[in-house]
Subunit: 252 residues, 2 copies
Amino acid sequence: MIHNSTINQQINHRSIRKFKDQTLSAEQLNTLYTVFQHTATSMFMQNATMLHITDEGKRAKIRELCGQKYVGAEGDLFVFVVDLYRNQQIRRQLGKDDGRVHTTDIFFQGMDDTLLAWQNVANAVESMNLGYVPLGTINDHPLKMLDVLDLPKLTFPALGMQVGIPDQEPQLKPRLPLAFTTFENEYPRDFKVVDLKDYDQVVTTYYDLRDANRRIDSFTKQITGDKLNDKRIDRDELPELLHKQELCLDWK
Amino acid sequence: MIHNSTINQQINHRSIRKFKDQTLSAEQLNTLYTVFQHTATSMFMQNATMLHITDEGKRAKIRELCGQKYVGAEGDLFVFVVDLYRNQQIRRQLGKDDGRVHTTDIFFQGMDDTLLAWQNVANAVESMNLGYVPLGTINDHPLKMLDVLDLPKLTFPALGMQVGIPDQEPQLKPRLPLAFTTFENEYPRDFKVVDLKDYDQVVTTYYDLRDANRRIDSFTKQITGDKLNDKRIDRDELPELLHKQELCLDWK
């Protein structure tokens, strides 16, 4: 294992859900923006936008839709947006039709740009001894969130991030052993759930130590439980939302 | 602007397309795997897999489909895969139905996991003074690539990466000014293409200095040109490919 300051931060990553009551300095904010800006981008299209939500009313509405009390509370709230609107505008204002901006292909390239930029910013955050939590809940109620963010067509809020000065020191969450997630040449189809027995025990111990009052679930219990059980939820509005945004119109 | 070793690497990122003829050491490889493993993951589902392609025959086929001579040539080739197969297997082997693994929602969460892990690995690569180039071309011919990679249902190769010891020193590619990509609270709809005049000049100068024999395009010329012009290409197989993979089955 090779160690340097970047890698040490990466392998010690924890999500932070409790922040001190302090916001980013202008210099810190500008640094995160600059890192965002320099992320690799597919075909040089630069299909990503980063929103900083500081308005209290808007933060409260986002917090409510996300259903997590730390969203838009202490620290700074960001939303990373797949953005094909900008390039559509360039084409239209220069007398061209929309071309391929409504295709699934270009949307997926925008997802690449946006999510790569997200993690790049996340690593910059931790390098400054700040912490973050990913906000996948930004899409718990996609149609309502779109109204709150008031975004134009051809944009899609992919993922949020709450950033701040950590006010907790969570334990490192144990991940699947590499033998289950990294492979050479061939993807092995002969996965056996019994081989996860040791890992399940490690996960159970982690929860046990983290909070004695909390329900303790092994990894396989979680995967066979509520989070993947069949049900209809607002997150299933995603295809409808993307079409409403005139994205992926070739997906029928 | 705040500087540290992580951030300095991020803001000086260039794609490397020429590598020395040397592969990663076992320790370097294991380090990248460990960083991959510790990336944030949506709902703790760990829906990402990292493939290391070392087989020469497979590398040649991937190179041909990607249409770039540096793919699978000097250095190491990786493919980052959205992987819902593993969790489906856990559910099935423990007597549960597939639940939500075929939904767009869960697929998008898998995209989050996979692309965040991609950028995390990319930052680790640069922290070791190695270089990389993103391989979006992994999806230039989606159906054929799936055959070459021989992946099971419920997986999707999202993005590739060629890694190695840099054998070139490219110039830093100028990005859109922050005023066009980062906003506070409100997304501004009043985008004006004339405001990109200065940036277009910067991009033109960059190409001019990079290679006198190469076509010189400003940013807006690229966006209004071939890369976004209407046409039917194999990349438009993406929706078909995902359904073939039994992903996003709720997207009709």
